[in-house]
């Protein structure tokens, strides 16, 4: 460095060098300041494509936790309602358009032999192995618009809910089963979608230098111990059989023949639509896994296979299918989880143009979200966002809060202090301060670079002059010989 400084004077004496150095410095500054934006755009567009694929795939696969299975596959009226309820609880129209953030989903491996789902942080720490899958990054997958409300600062906080309900309520797009399986495979983690599920239980905002993505961590647990979504609030909802029951009778004589107006999405399994080609066989043994998808494996392998379900032609009620799916997954009367919908937001398959009376008012907000996500949509394929944003589906946030296994009185909406063993949250910083510091840093770095460049240019010119003199004198000496 000393030699650089020692020769700066050479550069500063020469105006062309100084001017060029200043130009370079300015260019460097522009580059430094421009990089994030340019890269952000690039990343955004890239992620946007990725999100399209992820979203398209998510229409078919919802084995990423009880969230998915409860919301169940593919345009079921019941599932749609559930997801809608969930959405209304989690995202209000006013905030849905504010802050949709990209998220990295990480699957945490629990210890072998875990036979019960943790009910508190202590139990959680006891079953965590510390092994996480590689991240599954999805663009604009989380609605962070109300995240700051619970911590005062947007960054450095966590939305923590072991039941996953408060988190699910804000997830706009869940990882597909394939994505989870792929991530687990890359991390050397065994994942069996038939027997395991992922419960997304904590959201962490970006809080480190090297990792700017928001995190959502999920517990990879057996399905039998995963907290199931709460029962719908509507008491008129037909009783659903235990998911473990191998062969629920269809048509179920106990189920009402007439859809309950309070249970808009509940189909009537007793009256299967003969025009419905996809109506599954409710007696299928695998119903408890994915009852509404007869060719489950095929559909999982081929995301497009269930696309018609997602594309959401409302005239094609797959109500029995969806109903069965929910029947087999949603209700666990013994578990005090009143808000079923809170588990289902991320995988709603409700089409935008469903003509159901419960969806007869398309949500402009949902459309806004679709525009934000820039996802080509077919028949309301982005119903996930729609369901989340639509305020017409009224399940209150209070119900969502009540569903959490963590005391919401102590920690509203699940915002807690950092979980032991997880990344500690660092003090927040305002966006303006962050920008100012970045500008100061960029100016300083550019200044240092400019100084070094100026010194280099100065030395180059001085060396060039001396080299020229040397050549001239040597030439004279050789000429003298002749």
């Amino acid at each position: 460095m000393a030699h650089v400084i020692a020769n700066i004077s050479h550069g500063t004496r020469r105006s062309p060098a100084l001017v060029s150095a200043l130009l370079i410095a300015a260019f460097s500054l522009l580059l430094v300041l421009g990089v994030p934006h340019a890269s952000a755009h690039a990343a955004e567009s890239h992620d946007g494509d990725a999100s399209v694929h992820a979203e398209m795939a998510s229409y078919d696969d919802h084995a990423s936790g009880y969230i998915a299975t409860s919301c169940d596959d593919d345009a079921s009226a019941y599932g749609a309602q559930s997801c809608g309820e969930d959405s209304s609880a989690g995202a209000s129209p006013s905030r849905a358009s504010k802050a949709h953030v990209s998220v990295g989903f990480f699957v945490a491996v629990v210890k072998d032999g875990t036979d019960s789902y943790p009910q508190n942080e202590e139990e959680l720490q006891q079953i965590l192995t510390g092994v996480y899958s590689p991240g599954i990054y999805i663009d604009q997958a989380f609605d962070a618009s109300d995240f700051a409300e619970f911590g005062g600062e947007l960054y450095g906080d966590q939305l923590y809910d072991l039941t996953g309900e408060a988190i699910d309520a804000r997830i706009l797009q869940l990882p597909t089963e394939e994505q989870i399986a792929e991530a687990c495979a890359r991390g050397g983690i065994d994942f069996d979608p038939e027997t395991q599920t992922v419960v997304w239980y904590v959201v962490k905002s970006a809080d480190s230098v090297w990792d700017s993505m928001w995190h959502i961590d999920g517990l990879l647990v057996p399905k039998e111990i995963a907290p199931e979504p709460g029962e719908p609030e509507d008491p008129d909802e037909p009783e659903v059989p235990d998911p473990d029951e191998p062969d629920p009778d269809v048509p179920d004589p106990d189920e009402p023949d007439v859809p309950d107006p309070d249970e808009p999405d509940t189909p009537d399994p007793d009256v299967p639509d003969p025009d419905e080609p996809d109506t599954p066989d409710p007696d299928e043994p695998g119903a408890d896994v994915d009852p509404d998808v007869p060719g489950d494996d095929d559909e999982q392998d081929s995301p497009d296979a269930s696309k018609p379900d997602n594309s959401g032609d409302a005239a094609q009620p797959e109500f029995p299918d969806a109903s069965n799916g929910d029947v087999s997954h949603v209700v666990d009367a013994a578990r005090p989880s009143p808000n079923t919908s809170l588990h289902q937001g991320g995988s709603s398959q409700m089409p935008n143009d469903v003509s159901s009376p419960f969806w007869d008012t398309p949500s402009p907000l949902g459309q806004d979200i679709a525009v934000i996500n820039d996802v080509p949509q077919a028949d309301g394929a982005n119903s996930d966002e729609l369901a989340k944003a639509d305020g017409s589906l009224d399940v209150s946030a209070d119900a969502a809060a009540a569903a959490s296994s963590i005391s919401e009185e102590d920690t509203p909406l699940g915002v807690t202090t950092p979980v032991p063993g997880e990344e500690p949250a660092i003090g927040g910083i305002s966006e303006a301060a962050s920008t100012a510091l970045h500008v100061v840093g960029a100016v300083g770095l550019a200044g240092v670079a400019a100084g070094v460049i100026a010194a280099n240019v100065g030395m180059a010119q001085a060396g060039s002059a001396l080299s020229s003199l040397d050549s001239q004198l040597r030439g004279r000496g050789r000429g003298r010989r002749r």
């Binding site: 650089v4 960054y155 510091l437 840093g441 960029a442 100016v443 003199l469 040397d470 004279r476």
Partner: protein, 205 residues
């Protein structure tokens, strides 16, 4: 131990530049450490560090090249003149005085101004100095410039002597090799034997 003003100024500037770089890096990294999004922090810092390393390496190379030119002396033995960018054009009467002139010029390297030779100056020999180091006599006050070769003790002087008339080049590794070349009498008196250098100079004269 007091440093010469020129070196002190260099040191101050270097420290300021380092502090500026450190503060800038800190300012850039602090938001990320406090939890703000920092998608490109590492990328920007990495690019900046790589650029700095490349620039410093190139700067070091250019500095060595510049110093080598600065430390080069052009000798016209017929006119008994020597020119150096730091020395200017000076006359000498014998080889010992020539060595003294070059030694003083090298000892005052940092504070010397650049000079240009006269148009009719045509050197016969070129003394290229690769490395030079000396110790100033304790009698010298502070930044007092060296005026006599006796004021310094040369501890390292390496380079090459080029005969421009023949193109021959001979490296030297110590002041004694130069004595052999430019002050053969001194060399013979001290070592009692003739060296390549003395014969080289005598033969070319």
């Amino acid at each position: 131990m007091s440093l010469p003003s020129s070196k002190r100024a260099v040191l101050v500037r270097a420290v300021l530049l380092i502090v500026l770089a450190a503060v800038s890096l800190a300012a850039w990294l602090v938001p990320g450490m406090l939890g703000a999004p920092s998608s490109f922090d590492s990328l920007v810092i990495a690019i900046w560090l790589i650029a700095m390393v490349l620039l410093l390496a190139d700067s070091r190379r250019r500095d060595r090249k510049r110093k080598r030119y600065l430390r080069t002396f052009y000798i016209d033995s017929e006119a008994s003149c020597v020119f150096g960018p730091m020395l200017g054009t000076r006359s000498y009467s014998n080889g010992s005085e020539l060595l003294d002139l070059m030694t003083v010029a090298l000892a005052n390297e940092e504070s010397a101004a650049l000079a240009t030779p006269s148009d009719d100056f045509a050197p016969e020999y070129v003394v290229e100095t690769e490395d030079f180091a000396c110790v100033r006599d304790a009698r010298l006050q502070g930044e007092e410039p060296v005026t006599r070769a006796d004021d310094v003790t040369v501890i390292r002087w390496e380079g090459a002597i080029v005969d421009l008339s023949t193109g021959r080049e001979k490296e030297f590794a110590s002041p004694f090799d130069l004595e052999d070349v430019f002050c053969p009498g001194c060399a013979e008196a001290s070592s009692g034997e003739s060296s390549w250098a003395s014969s080289y100079v005598c033969a070319t004269r």
